[in-house]
């Protein structure tokens, strides 16, 4: 992409920062910066520098008892046993043998009480960190992350959702469409990222050159941060098309593809690794489905059997490649499942006492926060909810979660002002 203007030109950088707002009162400033971008060097330099978030969303409501908070040999525990992990004294369910060996990189919060058993509401509240209110929409964690963490000159989208089922588009609400999720459905590249067959590359270049000439002429009349932003969006699209291979998991070694597994989730985790390596600030991978009102145990064997190895491989790879220090990992769900086992060997919706897992950037490795009662029917220590979690995740990647976003001169608290981070979980 040829450069139209003097890059790093102070006023443009400045006006663009002004335009893009970023954070008031601390946190990381977000901005698009100059227009010369897409050099391969950037990715490497990013790797060292900036923070990212990987959110794994186990859709349907995974059972805390079959994962992070096992209660073997109790009336609610179910048939599975607890196994030791790579963290002395920390046990998780036997359905996660591979993950167990990565727990030294992760931490468990066992004391969530989100007081909700509705799928829709759970999805919204867990991913926005706010109580759902009619007529009010809050930005998805991915939008907040993209706005706060996307580095200048970054050629790729800042908020990517990799899904095969599970929740759809992550909404940016008042942060604006720039921070909506780009959705990669069943491992496909973003919509419209492929040049139509009818449009040869040189033709596209030609018409763009004509567009830019028109823009230069118009800039002679009036040029603002907004006109620059519009021009830049076309540059960014071109760069994304150039780097379309980032979304192509088939470029990974067949060894890795075998290791991660041939199923959707395995492929999606490998794609997530690829995106994080490319420096994408926020990646969410959905895994569907855990809504096991019937045969909870059979289904958790099947679904966690799919989850365990690719997830563990991803954690191990990120650690090995030195990305874990800059990448915060979260494994969440809309809620947990009832300790009581119903007549159909199922567990039902339950938000009263359940668990999530965090790890990587800014998170105490191997920590366990909070407790539930012996048979898991209630939180007995350090009760927290989605609000605290949201603060913690952002603090983990260095965002001042008590700060505000400035959008068109209006201030929006980054996270629920009535909540705060789980301090003991922060490294």
């Amino acid at each position: 992409m040829q450069c139209r203007y003097a890059c790093g030109d102070s006023d443009h950088a400045l006006s663009r920062r002004a335009l893009l707002g970023g954070l008031v009162g601390g946190g990381l400033a977000a901005g698009l910066g100059g227009l010369c971008t897409g050099t391969p060097a950037i990715a490497d330099e990013l790797k060292a520098s900036h923070k990212r978030i990987l959110n794994i969303f186990l859709h349907g409501g995974v059972s805390q008892l079959e994962t992070w908070d096992p209660k073997p040999n109790t009336d609610t525990g179910g048939p599975f046993r607890a196994i030791p992990t790579s963290v002395p004294g920390m046990h998780i369910c036997e359905l996660l043998p591979h993950t167990a060996q990565q727990m030294h990189s992760l931490a468990i919060v066992r004391s969530l009480n989100t007081k909700n058993g509705d799928h829709g509401r759970g999805t919204v509240e867990m991913t926005t960190g706010r109580k759902q209110m009619p007529g009010t929409e809050y930005p998805h964690l991915g939008a907040v992350a993209a706005k706060s963490l996307t580095p200048q000159n970054f050629p790729l989208p800042g908020h990517i959702l990799v899904r095969s089922g599970g929740p759809g588009k992550g909404d940016a609400a008042y942060l604006g469409p720039q921070y909506d999720s780009i959705v990669l459905d069943d491992g496909k590249a973003p919509a419209n990222s492929e040049r139509p067959a009818s449009l040869a590359a040189e033709v596209d270049a030609r018409r763009n050159a004509f567009r830019m000439k028109a823009n230069d002429r118009f800039a002679g009349r009036r040029r603002t941060a907004e006109t620059d932003a519009y021009t830049f969006s076309f540059d960014q699209a071109a760069q994304l098309m150039q780097r379309r291979d980032v979304f192509d998991v088939s470029q990974e070694s067949s060894a890795d593809r075998d290791r991660y597994g041939k199923h959707d989730f395995g492929r999606n985790c490998l794609l997530a690794r690829r995106l994080l390596e490319a420096g994408v600030p926020f990646v969410q991978v959905n895994h569907s489905n855990y809504d096991t009102h019937f045969e909870n145990f059979d289904y958790h064997i099947e679904q966690l059997g799919e989850f365990d190895l690719p997830f563990a491989s991803l954690v191990a790879d990120l650690a090995e490649r030195g990305l874990l220090a800059d990448t915060l990992i979260c494994v969440m769900s809309e809620f947990g499942r009832t300790p009581k086992i119903n007549a159909r060997y199922g567990r039902d919706h339950w938000g009263k006492a359940w668990s999530v897992v965090l790890g990587g950037a800014g998170i105490q490795p191997g920590a366990v926060v909070g407790k539930t009662s012996d048979n898991g029917t209630e939180v007995t220590d350090r009760e927290v909810d989605h609000g605290h979690l949201f603060h913690t995740i952002l603090r983990g990647v260095g965002v001042d979660s008590k700060g505000e976003f400035d959008v068109g001169g209006r201030q929006f608290p980054v996270a629920d002002p009535a909540k705060d981070a789980i301090a003991e979980l922060l490294a």
């Binding site: 019937f294 064997i301 086992i341 007549a343 199922g346």
Partner: protein, 337 residues
């Protein structure tokens, strides 16, 4: 059977004695003398119920739920297989039976079912390691390990006369095994009992119960069909009956009314009719089918949903393991005047 007893008439089925266990039951089997019923439960215990006195004797050694139980007619042994992968030999009688033998692990992951050969010489077990294993019922030595299933093996049964072994997995794939050769001799299928639910992206099905007809001409597989919502167990109980010789389905028994449930137990009564236990969203039911008529000729509502069924050696009652913790007997004849 002595003549002064009321004759078998499933339409006169009524609730007999019941005994309560502390936690929901998962399985039940009569011992061949009809003296005891053994149950598994959500508390890792095998429990021996003395039907005369109602005395319950807990047999503890498993580390997880027990859903696989078999009793030897002669040797006085009860075998239990657990979700802990263990296979345990117990004496049937005695004040306080202690394990005679433990195979730990007999399988990687759950042991889902046990079957005893007609001559009681061999014990077959199957489980989540996708294997079927045949053991010497007396000394527990492994005779053969049968691989070939591509999903969890849910059930196994020995043919009553020719002694051949058959197993069925989650996806409704049946394998008849040439035990001597250690490989499958033929594949059959009960496709009606399996489905991949696209919206939940998970498998649902398998033979939740299995039984040969008394004459060995038919093989019945119980489970769930017409599944519209796997994770809520929305589907109908069904028994797929195969012609053993051809391996082809001859009839698929279902209920007249489409209630939600799964066939957790199936048996053919010596009198010729089939009995199926349905448990699930629609509550507990005993279904009675005969010949090739798909709809039942009678069904009996149970006080609570059931999870396993066995037919008494004298054929006059069935035992049902209930979610509410009760072991209940149901008599298949009119109440004695």
């Amino acid at each position: 059977m002595t003549d002064d007893l009321p004759q078998i008439d499933p339409t006169k089925t009524h609730v007999g004695p019941a005994w309560k266990h502390a936690r929901p039951l998962t399985a039940c089997r009569f011992d061949p003398t009809g003296k005891y019923v053994f149950t598994g439960a959500e508390d890792n215990l095998l429990t021996r119920w003395d039907l005369a006195s109602g005395a319950a004797t807990p047999l503890a050694t498993h580390d997880s739920w027990i859903r696989a139980i078999a009793c030897s007619p002669s040797a006085g042994v009860v075998y239990s297989g657990g979700y802990d992968g263990r296979l345990v030999w117990w004496p049937i009688d005695g004040e306080k039976p202690e394990p005679r033998r433990k195979l730990d692990p007999a399988h990687q992951g759950w042991v889902r079912a046990l079957a005893l050969s007609p001559d009681a010489a061999r014990l077959a077990s199957c489980g989540n390691d996708k294997l079927v294993k045949v053991w010497d019922a007396a000394d527990g030595t492994l005779i053969v390990e049968l691989a070939g299933h591509e999903s969890h093996v849910y059930n196994a049964a020995f043919h009553p006369t020719d002694g051949s072994l058959v197993s069925c997995d989650l996806k409704g794939v049946l394998k008849q095994w040439d035990v001597a050769a250690g490989k499958a001799s033929r594949d059959m299928a009960a496709t009606a009992l399996y489905k991949y639910d696209d919206s939940f992206r998970a498998d649902i099905g398998g033979a939740r119960s299995i039984a040969f007809s008394t004459d060995g001409k038919q093989l019945a597989l119980g489970g769930i069909t017409n599944v519209t919502n796997a994770f809520a167990g929305i589907g109908n109980p069904a028994v797929v009956v195969l012609d053993w010789e051809s391996g082809q389905p001859v009839v698929q028994y279902e209920g007249k009314d489409k209630i939600n449930g799964t066939i957790w137990g199936v048996r053919q009564h010596p009198a010729g009719f089939w009995i199926g236990l349905s448990g699930g969203g629609g509550g507990g039911w005993l279904y009675f089918w005969k010949e090739a008529a798909a709809p039942e000729f009678f069904k009996f509502k149970l006080p609570d949903t059931g999870r396993d069924l066995d037919l008494s050696p004298d054929g006059r009652s069935v035992a049902v393991a209930h979610f509410d913790g009760h072991l209940r007997l149901y008599h298949l004849h009119a109440k004695a005047a």
